[in-house]
């Protein structure tokens, strides 16, 4: 039969002598890292003003009745978080969990306490609780719309306070005859997968449409009056294990300090997001988004001799040139074949490797003259990475 012959052809191809592979796993890793970084850069398009506007619109939350015997809530946090003051003490996470990323923005902080889990912290006034419905503003890094959750099922005590399981069904489309979702704010129906059901106003599914919950363990609780935490975990057990040891508040962490600053900026430039990425090869690094370009990143290498401009972002690099800026030799390149974002990098400015990324190459070179390295001694570091 023809089918058997086709199978025979494939067997033959499977046994054919293969030439040496032209595949590089390190390159795939670096490119993957670059794409993850690029994804994060896209949050620049979600300016801080949006979060501030949402904060202004959001009505004060109503605190659900505390259960008898529950402990008093810690002091209220401010209506906006500080970019230099993580609200969550990540050192209290269970042993073995990672502390990969922390995004900080006014009114909103996002942590990845462990692979596949996300913790959102929303400052006082960001979410409102009315008639058992918790409405929180959009996640500026992932989703597109305000979210409303029905808090139906209690999940036990977290920090002595009632917590709730949040039904977070994500809708997935399956192929050409799957579901089509109508999402307000999008120009037309979409087949995108992974849309939170709370965003979808209309669904049209063929018989092959599927939907399931991506996160079975999404937990919501107040970590301070009117301040809500939303923890997405793969299972309820993981969610509770991660949530219970967490500590919050201004005293949970020492402030983040910065070994590089962008000076000479207009007073309107504010830091929107700090992306902290602990890495074994670097003692610390951060990307500082100001709501528009440029983006300032820095790293201090455990072994200074390994400092490299081409560690992050990842290859393939294009248009690589060098230049002198204020007696500092810098490398200039862009990552993608289309130069949407240029990077100017100094591998060693008083022991600190510094990248400045933006869309305008010549403007970046001018701005790089305003970058100041504060050296490797934390005593000399700044508490805010932008100066007038």
């Amino acid at each position: 039969m023809l089918e058997n012959d086709i199978a025979a052809v494939y067997e033959r191809m499977a046994q054919a002598e293969a030439p040496p592979p032209q595949i590089s796993i390190p390159a795939a890793t670096r490119r993957g890292q670059a794409r993850r970084r690029a994804r994060r850069l896209t949050v620049i398009a979600t300016p801080v003003l949006a979060a501030a506007a949402v904060a202004g619109i959001a009505v004060a939350s109503l605190v659900p009745a505390a259960s008898p015997g529950s402990a008093p809530l810690p002091p209220a946090t401010g209506t906006a978080f500080s970019v230099a003051q993580p609200e969550l003490d990540m050192q209290t996470l269970p042993a073995g969990t990672g502390r990969e990323v922390a995004f900080l923005a006014p009114g909103y902080q996002l942590y990845v306490p462990h692979q596949g889990q996300e913790l959102e912290l929303l400052a006082q006034g960001q979410c409102s609780l009315v008639a058992g419905r918790l409405t929180c503003p959009k996640n500026p890094y992932a989703s597109v719309l305000p979210r409303t959750f029905r808090l139906r099922h209690t999940a036990g005590l977290v920090h002595g306070h009632r917590s709730y399981w949040v039904p977070r069904t994500y809708l997935y489309a399956s192929g050409e005859t799957g579901c089509r979702f109508t999402v307000p704010g999008k120009p037309r129906t979409t087949k995108d997968s992974g849309i939170a059901s709370s965003h979808v106003t209309q669904t049209r599914c063929g018989k092959h449409g599927k939907q399931w919950s991506a996160y079975d363990g999404t937990l919501a609780w107040q970590f301070a009056p009117g301040s809500w935490a939303l923890l997405e975990a793969r299972t309820p057990a993981i969610a509770l294990a991660l949530a219970r040891p967490l500590k919050f508040g201004d005293h949970a962490n020492p402030p983040t300090r910065f070994p590089a600053v962008l000076a000479g900026q207009p007073s309107s430039v504010r830091v929107g997001v700090v992306n902290l990425e602990p890495n074994r090869s670097r003692l610390g690094s951060a990307a500082i988004f100001t709501g528009s370009t440029p983006v300032l990143s820095w790293a201090i290498y455990r072994h200074p001799g390994t400092a490299s401009c081409t560690d992050v972002p990842a290859p393939p690099y294009h248009g690589v040139t060098t230049a002198m800026v204020n007696s500092t030799r810098v490398v200039i390149f862009h990552i993608h074949s289309v130069p949407l974002l240029w990077t100017v990098c100094a591998p060693d400015m008083s022991g600190v490797t510094i990248w400045l990324t933006g869309s305008d190459k010549s403007a970046l070179l001018r701005q790089f003259a305003d970058v100041q390295s504060l050296g490797t001694n934390p005593a000399g570091w700044a508490s805010y990475p932008v100066r007038p």
């Binding site: 023809l2 086709i6 032209q22 795939a28 596949g116 399956s174 192929g175």
Partner: protein
């Protein structure tokens, strides 16, 4: 898990799968260079989704799904439409003992549309059921059946195969029924 641990786990996994992945890509592309490109893209995409893949019960299947979908998707892009790979397919001696030595199917399979090629590889090399193939390609089972039927029909229409196909009996004129038998 730190970023470095994540990267190490990923590198170990993909390193172990590379050979099998290349061969699978070669069956789809019928060209080692394009196969390597496809595997490279797959490896990058797997890195992006490594969290989910590692947490899934079957990371191999996750990776294979990325490969197949990337292959089908790549062929839809304007780049694939613009760029025509010229040159003959590599000539490979057919086994002499093989009864169909006179009819080399490989170039004819290579000439099929990408989605049909993907379906054939899934059905006749990976031994996936119609439902499994549909899940991997992200399409309906009916779509898999029709693509398989069209691919088989196209191969039967190829010169040199028509006569051969005529010998296989009346069922070969009803490819849809044949395909469903494989489900």
């Amino acid at each position: 898990m730190t970023a470095t641990d994540r990267d190490r786990d990923y590198a170990e996994f993909i390193g172990g799968q590379l050979s099998a992945l290349r061969r699978l890509a070669y069956m789809l592309c019928h060209d080692w260079h394009r196969a390597d490109d496809l595997v490279q893209v797959t490896a990058t995409r797997l890195y992006l989704h490594w969290g989910k893949a590692a947490a899934s019960s079957n990371p191999d299947a996750y990776m294979r799904t990325i490969l197949f979908r990337e292959f089908v998707h790549e062929q839809r892009t304007s780049w694939a439409r613009r760029v025509t790979v010229t040159g003959d397919l590599p000539v490979r001696p057919a086994p002499q003992a093989d009864p169909d030595a006179a009819v080399d199917l490989e170039p004819r399979i290579a000439a099929l549309p990408p989605r049909q090629r993907a379906v054939l590889v899934l059905r006749f090399y990976c031994d996936q059921s119609v439902a499994q193939a549909a899940g991997i390609l992200g399409c309906s089972e009916g779509n898999v059946k029709s693509q398989t039927a069209r691919a088989l029909a196209a191969l039967r229409q190829s010169p040199g195969i028509q006569a051969y196909a005529g010998e296989t009996g009346p069922e070969s004129r009803h490819p849809y029924r044949e395909v469903t038998d494989h489900a």
